[in-house]
């Protein structure tokens, strides 16, 4: 297959490109016009074609999409104000989908997020799966959740309006090199302390290489069309267990201040009550004290990856300990060997097969 991967120079995008090449695909990698491509790890690989384009502009996007078999829509913006994130996440996707419609490219894998779920309406310890309700009133959520919800809606519209063959993948917290901390644990207090909210809550993590592989599986498997898949790893740790494991690889160690979930939940509800009662709900409150945001970050829920495993035969290759080790070692695990080993497109491969294609 020839895959177009957008946002290819980002944290997840680099690994999607690497995994796709390892699985025998040719890749067109979209990076922004002034992105540094020197250290992508696959910039000189013969199976990777790097195209510079800014998806916020429609110019040249038909050319970008023309001739690919599938598009992995991975570009998104997590920083900046609402309008910056809207442009970087929603407008980019809208333009990309328009180019796909223009060039009759039907196959889309839309990379979404757990942030689209409506955690506030879920019960504590309820199972979150692909059928769980989305957030219908995200006004108290962060810009990321608001814009990713619109982005997902665009992907579903593409399926309806253009007979698109769409798969939506919703990764949990993606971790890996330079991204080992997550605000789902709680709140950082300076450089070596953190407030751990709900230490026994399960952390829905997926290691970046595992996640990238799941996304490539979704792109190449016919049975993924029309499906939505949550992506989390096996044997998910609790907040406390993850922090303890992280501290094995981190200096200085992160000292934790425990905050029981029920106490934090009460404080957020109290803050909302005061805001409503005395301030007309107009006061800007830190996200950890806004119930909708707090529940999305720290709620004790349970998670499953059963659907993607059963449907696509994917299973996460790296466990947490090994993933953390890879997250701190000196090797660039998204880098591809200059002379790649002979690869082949694989429908159902084994762990042993995958091992032979582990990147350099």
């Amino acid at each position: 297959m020839k895959l177009l991967v957008t946002g290819a120079s980002g944290f997840l995008g680099r690994h999607i490109v690497a995994q796709a090449v390892q699985r025998g695909h040719d890749v067109r990698a979209q990076v922004r016009p002034v992105s540094n491509i020197k250290d992508l790890g696959w910039e000189d690989h013969p199976r990777v074609e790097i195209i510079r384009a800014d998806l916020r502009s429609k110019a040249d996007l038909d050319q970008l999409v023309q001739g690919v078999d599938a598009v992995v829509s991975n570009a998104a913006c997590k920083a900046g104000d609402f309008y910056t994130q809207f442009a970087g996440t929603v407008i980019t996707t809208e333009n990309l989908l328009a180019a796909m419609a223009n060039t009759d490219v039907k196959r889309l894998v839309a990379v979404s997020t757990f942030s689209v779920y409506g955690f506030l309406k879920m019960r504590d310890r309820e199972l979150l799966d692909e059928e769980s309700p989305l957030d219908t009133d995200p006004i108290d959520r962060d810009e990321y959740a608001q814009t990713k919800l619109v982005q997902e809606e665009l992907a579903r519209e593409f399926a309806k309006e253009h007979e698109g063959h769409v798969t939506v993948v919703r990764p949990g917290v993606i971790y890996g090199k330079d991204n080992l901390w997550t605000a789902r644990i709680g709140m950082e207090l300076g450089t070596d302390r953190c407030l751990v909210v709900g230490g026994r809550s399960i952390l829905p993590i997926t290691y970046v290489e595992n996640c990238a592989q799941a996304i490539v599986f979704a792109a190449e498997k016919e049975q993924a069309v029309g499906q939505t898949y949550n992506i989390v790893d096996d044997n998910l740790p609790t907040h406390r267990q993850y922090l303890r494991a992280l501290n094995q690889h981190r200096k200085p160690r992160m000292k934790s201040l425990p905050m029981p979930w029920l106490v934090m939940r009460f404080l957020a509800a109290l803050a909302l009550g005061v805001n409503k009662l005395f301030l007309g709900r107009r006061a800007k409150v830190p996200s950890i004290l806004r119930p909708a945001a707090l529940h999305a970050r720290c709620k004790p829920s349970t998670y499953t990856n059963r659907l993607i495993k059963d449907s696509l035969g994917w299973s996460p290759h790296f466990g947490m300990e090994e993933a953390l080790q890879r997250g701190v070692d000196e090797t660039d695990h998204a880098a591809l060997a200059p002379e790649p080993a002979e690869t082949q497109a694989v429908a159902d491969d084994t762990d042993a097969d995958r091992e032979t294609r582990t990147c350099a």
Partner: protein
């Protein structure tokens, strides 16, 4: 009045908030080239319908007032079509790219008997209204010096520093400074109405090819009166500071972090006035700090003047009175910007 908005960028949030909460306006349409952006804005602010074609919106929704909130290069074409469709136009600054264009657009509005109003929002911020009252009450005496200084770290990040997709403002006659120069122009002219000499130094201290200029230092002289306009993106922190000096007193404020420092003759005579000024301004500063904290908590931004401007504009449109930003205000501002850019006035 039936109102519509073209353009759903950052500033649209303030216009749409006003329209969503105004008893004078009914939001009948929101238009943007992006269908997703138009629909999101329409849903968030309760517009009747989202459009991607503004001509279709003008035709179907028949707005009485259109807010043109698109990049400045598009204003003339959009405003002309809105005026032709029988709508009053409220337009973001700069309304046109030069005084000739402004005159032509104004004449067109006049021929259609419709109002054309440029957003001069900071003129309606509380500190500016207070300074105007001090002048009207004779507290400052005759204004003899005005200093306006805007500092914004726009080179360090954000939409103007983005090299991937350079902001359209970089292509304006004064580059990105053109996006702010209207504010500096109308404010200085509010207190210094008739400069007879203008000289301006436009510099690109950063020296790259993205920014045309990143610094403006302009002097305005009228007889024995002086004014200075500064724009800098190399000196921090961000500020929008204004000092007005009169023959009797001096007042300072900052519109981004509002406070008011007034030095004037106090009761107690010449000897005690400095002490009383210190005490009075100290107390005023404490009060401003508390107010600013409250504003931060309650999400009130320096755009507070925009809401006052829109309220007064809609009141005027409804009652058939003169809008708060007049032809004279816009004409003189546009001319001043041209004067600052003129080759013959450059330092």
């Amino acid at each position: 009045m039936n109102s519509a908005v073209i353009g759903t960028g950052e500033i649209s949030a303030e216009h749409l908030k006003f329209l969503a909460n105004s008893k004078s306006a009914k939001l009948v349409g929101v238009c943007d080239l992006s269908r997703a952006a138009a629909r999101y804005a329409a849903k968030t602010f309760g517009a009747d319908k989202a459009y991607t074609d503004y001509k279709q919106m003008l035709d179907e929704a028949k707005p009485d007032v259109v807010h043109v909130l698109t990049p400045p290069q598009t204003h003339v074409a959009l405003a002309t079509d809105c005026l032709d469709a029988g709508a009053h136009v409220i337009c973001e600054k700069p309304i046109t790219l030069g005084h000739d264009q402004f005159t032509s657009l104004w004449n067109h509005a006049d021929s259609k008997q419709k109002h054309l109003i440029e957003d001069h929002n900071y003129r309606f911020n509380r500190p500016i209204l207070k300074i105007e009252k001090l002048i009207d009450d004779g507290v400052l005496g005759d204004v003899s010096e005005v200093d306006i200084r805007m500092a914004l770290a726009i080179r360090d990040g954000g939409r103007f520093a983005d090299r991937n997709l350079p902001n359209p403002a970089h292509k304006l006659p004064a580059g990105v400074i053109h996006d702010f120069i209207t504010h500096l122009g109308y404010l200085v002219l509010r207190f210094f109405p008739d400069p007879d000499r203008v000289s301006a130094a436009w510099t690109n201290h950063g020296g790259d090819d993205l920014f045309k200029y990143d610094d403006l230092d302009a002097i305005l002289i009228a007889g024995d009166k002086h004014a200075r306009i500064r724009f800098s993106c190399r000196t921090g922190p961000d500020c929008f500071a204004l000092t007005v000096r009169g023959t009797r007193a001096e007042v300072q404020t900052d519109l981004f972090h509002p406070f008011m420092r007034l030095i004037k003759p106090r009761k107690g005579g010449e000897k005690l006035s400095p002490v009383v000024n210190q005490l009075a301004n100290g107390l005023s500063l404490v009060g401003s700090s508390l107010s600013n904290l409250r504003n931060k908590l309650m999400q009130r931004s320096p755009y507070e003047g925009l809401h006052t401007f829109l309220k007064r504009t809609y009141d005027a449109l409804q009652h058939g009175t003169e809008p708060p930003v007049t032809f004279d205000d816009m004409d003189r501002t546009s001319r001043l910007i041209d004067q600052m850019l003129a080759e013959g006035n450059r330092v």
